[in-house]
Symmetry: C2
Subunit: 345 residues, 2 copies
C-alpha cells in the first residue's frame, strides 16, 4: 500500500486540511522498475511557507500543483529497490522536490535523486543544509550583502530560514534583531541563538509599538531587512531604513492566505533613503549549493550555527501540519516523519 496526499481543490484564503487535500491509501502504482529507475521510501517531508503559493493557479517561479496530483514538496528518503548502478537499497537520498507527499515513489532513471553519505543527519540536511538554510545563506549574503557593524532585522526569525539568517548575520559581525510571534520564540533567539534583540510583533502594540521597538533595538536604523512576512512588519521596518539599506524579499507569509496582498504603503522610504528592495529565488544559486553547504556545515561543526526541527509524525498529518507555518506554531524547521528511520542510522 502507498499513502499519498493529493491536492483536492485550490484554497481560497487559508488552507483547510480536509478540503484542500485528500489522503489516499491505495496499492502502489505498478512500479515495475526499468533500467536506471530507483524506488524510494520517503522518510521526512519538508513543510515550507512557499507551498501555499504553489497551490494558487497563478504564474510564479514554479507551475502550480495540479488538482489531483501528489502535493509537491522537498523530502528525504531511503532507497528500497534500485536498477541504477549509482544507487543501492539502503542508500539515503535527497529527493530534491521529486516524490513529494507520498510514502513511496519511483524516480525514473534516478534523474532527481541526490545520494547522501551514510549516516547523514537528515534533519540537518533538510534544515540548515537544505533549501531553507541555502535560502538564508544566499539571500542574506548575496542580496543583503551585510557588512560588519551593520544592523540586520529579520522577520519570521524563529522559522527555518529566519533563524539561520540571524545566526549568519552574527557570524558576519552584524547587530541582529529578530521579529517573532511569541515571547518564548524571542527568548530562544536571544538566549540560544545569540541574536542581539528580538521583538514580539504580536504584543508590540501595533504600528506605533513596532516603530518604538525598532527604534530601541536598532538605534542607528536598519541596514539590511530580510523579509519573510510582508504586511505590517515590512511597513514598520521600511520606516526605519538607513541610507542605502537593502530589503531582501524572501517571502510574505502574512499575505499568502489573503486574496488581496497588502502592498507596503511605506515603500517610498526606498526613494528617500536610496534603498533597494530585491527578490531572489534560491534555485538561481544551484551552481553554488556545494560551496554554501560546506560553509554551513563548518558553522554547524564549530557550534556557530544551531538549529531546531519540529517533527510531525505521519504523512497523513502533513496537511494539518502545514497550518502550523501560518499560525506561527512552529519553531525552527517544520518536518513530517513518514516512516521509521532505517536502523543503521
Amino acid at each position: 500500500m502507498n499513502t499519498r496526499v493529493l491536492l483536492r481543490e485550490r484554497p481560497v484564503g487559508a488552507i483547510e486540511p480536509e478540503k484542500t487535500f485528500e489522503v489516499v491509501r491505495a496499492p502502489m502504482d505498478a512500479h515495475q522498475l526499468l533500467e536506471g529507475d530507483v524506488l524510494v521510501r520517503t522518510l521526512f517531508l519538508s513543510l515550507d511557507p512557499a507551498m501555499r503559493g504553489w497551490l494558487d493557479d497563478k504564474p510564479s517561479y514554479l507551475p502550480p500543483v495540479k488538482i489531483g496530483a501528489v502535493m509537491r514538496g522537498g523530502s528525504m528518503g531511503v532507497v528500497v529497490e534500485s536498477k541504477n548502478a549509482a544507487f543501492a537499497a539502503g542508500d539515503l537520498v535527497d529527493a530534491q522536490g521529486t516524490g513529494g507527499w507520498q510514502q513511496y515513489f519511483v524516480d525514473r532513471k534516478a534523474r532527481n535523486l541526490l545520494k547522501l553519505d551514510p549516516g547523514t543527519d537528515l534533519l540537518a540536511a533538510m534544515g540548515p543544509l537544505g533549501m531553507t538554510g541555502l535560502t538564508a545563506y544566499f539571500g542574506l549574503l548575496e542580496v543583503g550583502k551585510p557588512r560588519a557593524g551593520e544592523t540586520i532585522v529579520v522577520s519570521g526569525a524563529a522559522g527555518a530560514t529566519g533563524s539561520v539568517v540571524g545566526q549568519i548575520g552574527k557570524i558576519m559581525g552584524c547587530r541582529v534583531v529578530g521579529m517573532a510571534g511569541t515571547d518564548e520564540k524571542c527568548r530562544w533567539l536571544t538566549e540560544e541563538l545569540g541574536f542581539d534583540g528580538a521583538i514580539n510583533y504580536r504584543t508590540a502594540g501595533g504600528a506605533a509599538g513596532l516603530d518604538k521597538a525598532l527604534r530601541e533595538h536598532c538605534p542607528k536604523g536598519v541596514d539590511v531587512y530580510f523579509d519573510n512576512v510582508g504586511g505590517d512588519i515590512l511597513d514598520a521596518v521600511l520606516l526605519r531604513l538607513r541610507m542605502r539599506a537593502r530589503v531582501v524579499l524572501c517571502g510574505a507569509i502574512s499575505q499568502y492566505n489573503s486574496e488581496a496582498v497588502a502592498g507596503p504603503k511605506n515603500y517610498l522610504t526606498l526613494l528617500t533613503k536610496r534603498a533597494t528592495m530585491a527578490g531572489f529565488i534560491v534555485f538561481d544559486y544551484l551552481a553554488r549549493y556545494a560551496e554554501a553547504r560546506a560553509q554551513l556545515q563548518a558553522w554547524l561543526d564549530n557550534g556557530k550555527l544551531k538549529f531546531k526541527v519540529d517533527v510531525i509524525d505521519g504523512l497523513e498529518n502533513a496537511p494539518q501540519g502545514l497550518l502550523k507555518l501560518f499560525t506561527g506554531a512552529n519553531k525552527g524547521k517544520l518536518a513530517v516523519q513518514c516512516a521509521p528511520l532505517p536502523s543503521k542510522l
Copy 2:
C-alpha cells in the same frame, strides 16, 4: 517692491493655492550688500512634483519648508547688483535652490549661485540640463542600467523627467513605451519624441485594460520601469516585469496628495522575477553633473533629445501653476516666468 510667495499652511491632501500659499508684496528687505554678496532677480522658477513632499512635516531627503518661509524651488535669474568679483550685473545664474519663489533675493557670499554662460538657453538649463534632465539621466542609466534591446516603460512620460528618460532609452537602443494621461500627450511621445509606444492610462480601462495594453506594447515584458507616479500604474507594470527587471523609483505623483499611500500590492513579483526596486535622489550624483550635462547638451545639439517647456506667466501664478503637475495639465517641463528676459538674451 519684492513679490514673494510664502508657505501659509501645510496642505492636507491636495494643494489649495490660496490656502496653502500667501503672495506678499512688500518693499525689499534691507538688502545692503556686504562684501561677496550678490543680488539676483528671478527670471524663471521651476515647478516640480517633489515640491509637494517638501510641504509635509515629515522626515525626507530635505527638511520641510517652514511655515511663513519663502517657498523653496529651483530658479534661474540675472544678477542685478554684485559685490562679488566672480559676478557682474547682467550675469545669468542658476540659483540652485536658493532664492525660491521671490522676485529678488540676495545670495550671501554668492555661496549657491552657479554662473551661466552669456546667451544660455535658460529653459534648456531648467529642463533637460536641469534637475529633471539630470534625474532622468542618472536614474535611468545608473539605477535602471538598460541594455540595448531591452524594454523600458516610463510613467509620467510626457513630463519633464519622463520625456527625457524615454529619449535616452531610445538613444541606448531600447524599446520605449510611455504612460501618459491624454491622447495628445501620447501622440507627442510617439510622433515627436520617437517612443515606440504610448499608453493613455486614463482611457486604458482600469487594471485589466492597462495589463492588456502593456502586453501589447511590451510583448517580451518589461526590463526597466522608471516610475514617476506609483499607484495603479506601478501595480500594473509590476505584473509584467521580466526576469531580473529593475524598477527605478523616482517619484509617486499619484500618491503625493493622499494621506495614506497605496502600497504596490503586486510587489511580490519582485520576488518571483528576481527583480529589484530601488530609489535614488539626483543630488547624490552632484560630482557627475558636469559629465551628464555635457552628454545631454551633445544630444540636444545633434537633435536626439527634444524638449518642451510649458511657461506660466507671473510669480503670483506659481501656486495655481503647481496644480497643473497633479492634474496632468502640463506637457514637458513646467516653469514660471517671473520677469521679462534681459534684452541681450
